[in-house]
């Protein structure tokens, strides 16, 4: 089921109102909203035409109400590469010039992380509507500044947390909020790869420019590049924000090339009700791939594979059977070796139930972007917002906190401490349930 089918299906079941009231930010992807902007054009400029920029360009090319009017990159080969797709777009090597361009209504920021905050705020102040890739900012303070700047300018800002716009995630969250897996008792995230996370460098002086992800001067590594997607799932499922964060990171395997961000991290986020959310990433073993699992008392939802597993206990048999079994156990058990806690529990082989049909599953291996992962939908929502000037509800706060907790976990790892998010960073948060 794709997005349109999902929304249509909700309609068929008389759930349209429910689904959209649960996920109001999806409204901009609805048929009605798309009709609203039919025939109108969103005049867009892109800053940072690297690999993610090109990925978005390929999606934007399929959207009839997008006009790419300007492209900007201070690395010529990337700019020229992007210009092939939009030969009529104006080309800039200084983003400030693009922001001065009156023909640009909306800006897509796909630069390295350390520039996100600065460019986003400059763009908002220039009156542009902004889509900025995750994570929202480079530091806790900067994220707050970006949030406040959007509010002050009453502008439009979307952050590239595309899972929020992925129909399979929305459907899964709806099931979780309806109690289909019972009480949520754990959130387990992991992202494993087995590669050095490097990009090829044409000449040595470009190392830091091309491989900015590997240097703490430009990026916070695995937490801001990968974890922020997963952390946002946790609060979406839990309907609350973590209370404290602890973690450990190390430069374990890829430690001979001069990089200074961790290549192995493990973090625990504890919610006020005691539930723990974990995130682990290792980039020198990929056996388990990527996982985003919500664990409930009556079942488990794997968001990545889009499957639901029930924890229904095996049929117990009649009272008499159980009594006989208990007597047998009593006779057979050996008091020295105690009871069942000694029995090794292997993972359940119960077959899951698909949450939706015909879904495309991402392995998490691509560093550019997966297929059918909500990226098209989030772009459609942005295009809609550029034309209408309406800020989609709730998603900014969700992205804001995903960034803050990714940054806080990174800080906890560096300081070897258990941290809570300072009150000054708290912004109004309405749970998405």
């Amino acid at each position: 089921m794709n997005r349109k089918e999902f929304l249509a299906d909700c309609g068929k079941k008389g759930l349209a109102g429910v689904a959209l009231s649960l996920f109001p930010w999806l409204e901009s992807c609805s048929e009605k909203a798309q009709q609203e902007v039919k025939g109108e054009k969103a005049r867009i400029g892109m800053i940072g035409t690297g690999s993610r920029g090109l990925y978005h360009i390929k999606n934007l090319l399929r959207m009839p109400n997008v006009e790419m009017v300007a492209l900007c990159d201070d690395y010529r080969p990337h700019l020229e590469n992007a210009a092939q797709y939009y030969p009529n777009a104006k080309l800039y090597d200084d983003y400030r010039k693009l922001l001065e361009d009156k023909s640009v209504d909306g800006v897509i920021v796909t630069t390295p992380l350390y520039l996100h905050g600065r460019i986003t705020m400059d763009a908002l102040r220039a009156g542009k509507r902004v889509f900025c890739e995750k994570s929202m900012a480079f530091t806790l303070d900067e994220a707050l500044d970006v949030y406040n700047c959007r509010k002050e300018m009453n502008g439009v800002l979307l952050i590239g947390q595309q899972r929020l716009f992925d129909p399979k995630y929305a459907r899964a969250m709806q099931m979780i909020h309806e109690g289909k897996i019972g009480k949520v008792v754990g959130v387990r995230n992991y992202w494993y790869r087995n590669n050095d996370w490097r990009r090829e460098v044409p000449s040595p002086e470009l190392e830091r420019r091309i491989n900015w992800r590997l240097y703490s001067e430009y990026s916070r590594g695995l937490m801001t590049e990968l974890a922020c997607h997963h952390l946002q799932n946790g609060s979406w499922a839990m309907g609350m924000l973590p209370e404290k964060v602890m973690g450990s990171g190390s430069l374990l395997h890829w430690n001979k090339d001069g990089r200074d961000v961790y290549d192995a991290v493990s973090a625990i986020f504890t919610y006020p009700n005691g539930v723990n959310m974990t995130f682990e990433s290792i980039i020198s073993n990929k056996h388990f791939g990527m996982g985003e699992q919500i664990l409930g008392t009556e079942g488990t939802i794997d968001l990545v594979t889009c499957m639901r597993y029930t924890d229904e206990p095996a049929p117990k048999g009649s009272g008499m059977h159980q009594l006989v079994a208990q007597i047998e156990n009593g006779v057979m058990s050996n008091s020295v070796f105690a009871g069942t806690s000694w029995a090794a529990e292997t993972s359940s082989l119960a077959p899951g139930i698909p949450i939706m049909d015909n879904v495309t599953i991402s392995t998490g291996e691509s560093t550019v972007g997966a297929e059918a992962d909500g990226s098209i939908e989030i772009m459609e929502a942005f295009v809609h917002a550029v034309i209408t000037g309406k800020q989609p509800e709730k998603v900014l706060e969700e992205s804001y906190y995903a960034t803050q907790f990714a940054l806080l976990a990174d800080k906890a790892m560096h300081e070897n401490a258990i941290l809570t998010l300072d009150e000054k960073y708290r912004v109004p948060y309405e749970p998405m349930k």
């Binding site: 117990k316 009649s318 009272g319 008499m320 159980q322 009594l323």
Partner: protein, 77 residues
């Protein structure tokens, strides 16, 4: 081979013992239903188990009675 005469009293006694075993087996079933929060219709659906349990109880009692008789017999000798 000698003819064996089972008196009406002996038959009645055996039937009473069997009935008592049946009642006890039913009580075990009720206990199991309550103990394991099983549905009450198991009073009927588990009747097979109850009958088997009845026979087991009866057999156990029979063995005890025979053992008792044997001891008395040996003592009298």
């Amino acid at each position: 081979m000698k003819d064996t005469i089972i008196t009406a009293g002996a038959k009645r006694r055996e039937l009473w013992i069997l009935l008592a075993c049946f009642v006890v087996a039913n009580m075990v079933n009720w206990y199991a239903i309550i103990r394991f929060a099983a549905p009450w219709y198991e009073i009927f659906t588990q009747i097979g188990y109850v009958v088997v349990t009845t026979l087991v109880f009866y057999l156990l009692i029979l063995i005890l009675r025979l053992a008792q008789k044997l001891i008395v017999y040996l003592k009298q000798k």
